[in-house]
Symmetry: C2
Subunit: 188 residues, 2 copies
DNA sequence: CGGGAATAGTTGACACATCATCCACGTTCG
DNA sequence: CGAACGTGGATGATGTGTCAACTATTCCCG
């Protein structure tokens, strides 16, 4: 009824085409299984989780082995509160330690402990092996390249333009309602 | 020291090659962002979660709109306890309802309610639109095919052979220690 | 200098996933 | 029949992620 009057007010749904449908379902299931398997394997081979691992990688990648909390959040694309909770738990297990920042009274550092270092050193080889066995042993060079290109395209789409607005929570705390921009897809 | 004595007991770690490294990091970040974005978008556009959506899809795909709990678990590759908890929450919100199975006193069905049906019908179009915008608008046919083939390869690897043993929790409850098979990678 | 805004980080409540355990029912076989 | 074992499913404890406040500091600008 009112469709004719406001043709663009209620656009016909763009469903996925059959080929896309198949690709999407394959991707979704693969991704779910792969995540589950990597997590499980990580906690079998070591006593840290994938999340712990990610944090520890950032710390070991830093010369000082100390990183500001929001720095961590930005790099991992996590929310600051997630970092805060997670670091608290890791601290309780002795993997990291918090330290106050002298140059900025609000800030604090997350610092790698010896125990944290040995934990990641113990976990890394098995994890690499797992990734090889589950992924790269199955793919030839062109597939590796395709995986990378596809991933980069989607990632870029997600972190630029309108999508980035939502992520902006990470940088600015209160995006002031993030005006949805009426017309749909302005594209940066 | 003992490496020379037992050469295969402590194999040199297979790290990822640079190209693989890049592809892997791209994939991991993309996948994380994409999941986050899909979930967020789903709860903005409707009042159900991705998990709810997955369950409701299964129910609507069934002629009877009723599915046995473990059937659901197997299809979604979830654990039975996850299903159980989740269905409990969904029931509390009126999206589904439990019903006893007359032919098997232990079993129970999960049944779609009218409210559940309208919830998924309301959510589906926006979700399809999101997937199109974030994924398929960016990929040409060959990339869609590549995505599917890569996903299927990895998924197959994950659900057959030694890996499947761990998943077996889903079918058999107590795999009796799942003997790790000494030698590493026997391959089914 | 003083006072509001932005920034860094924490906290608590809640939703969710996992694990181990438990119970009710069914199957099998003596 | 009835004991032993397998199966379908529920439950509670615990760890983790998200959201919405909240605190404390610093920045900005008159």
């Amino acid at each position: 009824m009112m469709c004719q009057l406001f043709p663009y007010a209620e656009p016909v749904t763009r469903w996925l085409e059959p080929e896309q449908q198949r690709a999407w379902r394959a991707y979704v299931r693969m991704q779910g299984e792969l995540n589950a398997h990597l997590s499980r394997q990580m906690s079998v081979d070591s006593d840290i989780s994938m999340a712990d691992f990610a944090v520890l990688v950032q710390l070991t990648d830093t010369p000082d082995e100390r990183v500001r909390v929001l720095e961590l959040a930005r790099y991992l694309h996590w929310e600051k509160s997630r970092i805060s909770h997670h670091v608290a738990r890791m601290e309780k297990r002795g993997l990291v330690r918090r330290e106050n920042c002298r140059s900025d009274g609000r800030g604090s550092f997350v610092v790698l402990t010896d125990q944290g270092r040995s934990a990641i050193e113990a976990a890394a080889p098995a994890h690499a092996e797992t990734v090889n066995k589950l992924v790269f042993d199955l793919l030839d060079d062109s597939e590796v390249q395709a995986l990378r290109e596809i991933s980069e395209k989607i990632f870029t789409r997600l972190t630029t333009g309108e999508c980035a607005a939502v992520i902006a929570r990470c940088d600015a705390d209160d995006p002031m309602e993030v005006v949805p921009e009426e017309g749909g897809c302005p594209e940066a």
